[in-house]
């Protein structure tokens, strides 16, 4: 892997941090965006020791979509106008039951997972298209493959993100740039800390990060499942007839 210029949106996510470490070890220039400045500074200090040439920190609530265009421009100029990789990690699982009763909360969930994420992805797409190089990697979820009673609000946001980035991949393909949307299965991170663990279906953040970096650095399909076996599981889940599906608690 060459020395890269990488923007990480939602750098405080457990999977994002593992991804940043892989790039740091190769001497990358990094821009880390997330909400908590103190924690971002801890990450930056660590990543520099691990080998990052440069590590800038942008502390902000990434769901403020009105700030996206100007902030993204500042991020790219911090990297001398060129981004080799833009990773979008931030996301919100939310509390589905509570959101069903509180529509403002539901819309907030969709704003985090979809609307604001769409703004970042479109800003990244414009930049990569101008450069005619680089890759956008957006982290989505298998929850977007079929609406299920337990998490369809989150799932809807992720489904939107998947289709958006799939479209961006199509748009960029003739221009020499790329986009990949990764649909993750269960990963052992703070987002899922409340769920009793951990069978064979659970992946570790470091393993997921390695797959994402491979998708960015090598030729890849525009839509990937991580780990790959989720493609099989989700194919089966999607073909179960509604009559049977509606009897489950999935």
């Amino acid at each position: 892997m060459l020395k890269r210029n990488i923007i990480i949106l939602g750098a405080l996510s457990a999977i994002a941090e593992e991804t940043a470490r892989l790039y740091a070890a190769k001497g990358a220039n990094l821009v880390l965006a997330g909400r908590n400045e103190e924690r971002l500074n801890q990450l930056a200090a660590d990543l520099k020791i691990r080998g990052a040439a440069q590590c800038d920190v942008v502390a902000m609530d990434l769901s403020h979509e009105e700030l996206v265009a100007s902030t993204f421009a500042e991020m790219t100029s911090a990297l001398n106008g060129k981004a080799d990789g833009v990773y979008l990690f931030y996301g919100l699982l939310g509390d589905q039951r509570q959101e069903e009763g509180d529509i403002t909360a539901a819309l907030r969930n969709i704003n985090v997972n979809f609307t604001s994420a769409a703004a970042w992805c479109l800003a990244a797409a414009n930049q990569l298209e101008r450069q005619a190089s680089g890759v956008l990697i957006a982290v989505s979820s298998v929850a977007g493959d079929r609406g299920r009673q337990s998490n369809y609000i989150y799932g809807a946001g992720k489904a939107g993100l998947t289709v958006l980035v799939q479209g961006i991949a199509h748009r960029l393909a003739p221009k020499g740039a790329r986009a990949v949307v990764a649909k993750l299965g269960f990963v052992d991170t703070p987002m899922t800390a409340h769920i009793a663990k951990k069978g064979l279906l659970w992946a570790k953040p470091a393993a997921v990060a390695a797959r994402l970096v491979a998708a960015a650095e090598k030729p890849s399909l525009p839509v990937v499942y991580v780990p790959g076996f989720w493609r099989v599981i989700m194919t089966i889940i999607c073909i179960v007839p509604a009559k049977i599906f509606h009897k489950t608690k999935l």
Binding site: A14, E38, R39, Q42, L43, A45, D46, I49, R50, P190, A193, H194, A196, K197, K198
Partner: protein, 439 residues
């Protein structure tokens, strides 16, 4: 902290006790739970490479510190490294070896955290020169229930109670250590077969000044003439500039619990004889990378599963120099008679250097360590007999490896234990502590 779901997958390396725990896994120091937030008790843990119940806090909270794992700073001139407590020795070496620095001392596995290494004040093959891990610790951060996070510098009572303090004095958040320079990642290792325990001590004595690292493997399975034979290993760092860190691949995995039946005396005897012959046939001096020399078992992930679903005990004692030869001989004789000895028994001498830790295990003398598959009463009664030999010789057991020693044996072996009791945080405890602090 309302969410009290208990899980059963947090065991220690020996896997004898499977207790339910409520596990908290912070990623940042500011998300470490407040020790005053719950009625229940807490226990900070690292990679859980301790064998017994010092990492068990049945039906209460465990704070898994492995997610707090960032480097803070490194000084290329002095070798002073400052890291979060959850950083592993594996990560330190991967970072430091290419720059020409190594840990001042290292235990037999690199999959331990700095916090865990400090809380057990671990030792390595160079104890006779470098002392324990604690000798290289300059300061650490500590969170206690009675105040804000604090910096603890070398020398004070809280420093000494926390070194080897089994996590009981507070949550260690970050550690500042001194690394030592190396000019190669390789060592020149000399292997010498010895025929009995007296020969072992002669070799250890003769090698201490000339070799940075010494250790031996001793045959605990064969009785009779073969009793006490073994392979002595001594090594010094090469100086050839090859600063290549260990690889990232984890190698073989032990994917299932082996039935204990396969691990009976015969298998162990066969294994020991084989190992012995293999070692003897090899060259006397061999250049070896640090990973297979320091961490022979780290290449088989989850090797503890070789001991079956019932788990294993490790027995590690230290005997003061004047009684060492006789007591080690008596221990080996007793173990050979039982036929329950393990794949590996390690015999090594400790030097006189002290870290100041009030519960640090090593003192000048000899240490013997070996594994026993858990055969319940049979194993416990054998270990009780070994205890007698150790106690009579003025020795003591290593808490990091222990899951069963009596309160009496602990308190007699560690006369300073009351100093730890005074500085122990009232919200922190472990099953080990509950057992050994009983009055």
């Amino acid at each position: 902290m309302t969410d009290l779901d208990f899980r059963l997958d947090y065991t220690s390396w020996g896997r004898v006790v499977r207790a339910p725990h409520h596990v908290l896994k912070p990623r940042f120091v500011d998300t470490v739970p407040r020790l005053t937030d719950s009625e229940g008790s807490f226990l900070p843990v690292g990679m859980r490479r301790s064998y017994g119940d010092s990492v068990i806090n049945s039906c209460n909270h465990l704070i898994d510190m492995t997610g707090v794992d960032r480097f803070h700073s490194f000084d290329e001139e002095t070798g002073i490294l400052h890291c979060d407590a959850g950083v592993t020795l594996d990560a330190v070496l991967r970072f430091s070896v290419p720059r020409g620095w190594f840990l001042a001392t290292t235990p037999g596995t690199r999959f331990v955290t700095l916090g865990g290494a400090l809380a057990n004040d671990v030792h390595g093959k160079n104890h006779h020169r470098a002392g324990t891990f604690g000798c290289s610790v300059r300061s650490f951060g500590l969170i206690r229930s009675d105040g804000p996070p604090q910096r603890v510098e070398r020398g004070g009572p809280l420093f000494e109670a926390t070194l080897g303090g089994l996590g009981l004095t507070g949550i260690i958040t970050d550690v500042e250590i001194e690394l030592v320079r190396v000019e190669s990642a390789y060592l020149n290792i000399e292997r010498i077969a010895y025929g009995n325990i007296r020969e072992f001590f002669a070799l250890a004595h003769e090698s201490g000044d000339r070799f940075e690292h010494t250790v031996s493997w001793i045959d605990c399975a064969n009785g009779g003439d073969a009793l006490g034979r073994g392979i002595f290993q001594r090594a010094n760092w090469c100086r050839d500039g090859r600063l290549i860190p260990h690889g990232t691949k984890s190698g073989a995995v032990m994917p299932f619990d082996m039935p204990v039946r396969l691990l009976n005396g015969t298998t162990v005897r066969l294994f020991n004889t084989f190992y012995n012959a293999l070692q003897k046939r090899g060259p006397r001096v061999q250049e070896t990378h640090y990973a297979p020399f320091f961490y022979p078992l780290d290449s088989i992930r989850d090797w503890n599963r070789m001991y079956g679903g019932a788990g294993l005990y490790q027995y590690q004692c230290v005997i003061p120099s004047i009684n060492a030869e006789d007591a080690i001989e008596a221990l080996i004789r007793r173990i050979a008679r039982s036929g329950a000895g393990s794949f590996l028994a390690v015999l090594k001498t400790f030097g006189e250097r002290q870290s100041g830790g009030c519960l640090s295990f090593p003192f000048e003398g000899a240490t013997l360590a070996l594994d026993f598959a858990n055969r319940k009463a049979e194993t416990l009664s054998l270990m009780a007999q070994l205890d007698q030999i150790v106690e009579d010789a003025g020795g003591r057991l290593y808490p990091a490896k222990d899951g069963r020693m009596s309160a009496g044996m602990f308190q007699q072996g560690y006369p300073d234990w009351m100093r730890l009791r005074e500085l122990k945080d009232p919200t922190i405890t472990s099953d080990f502590w509950q057992r050994v602090s009983y009055c």
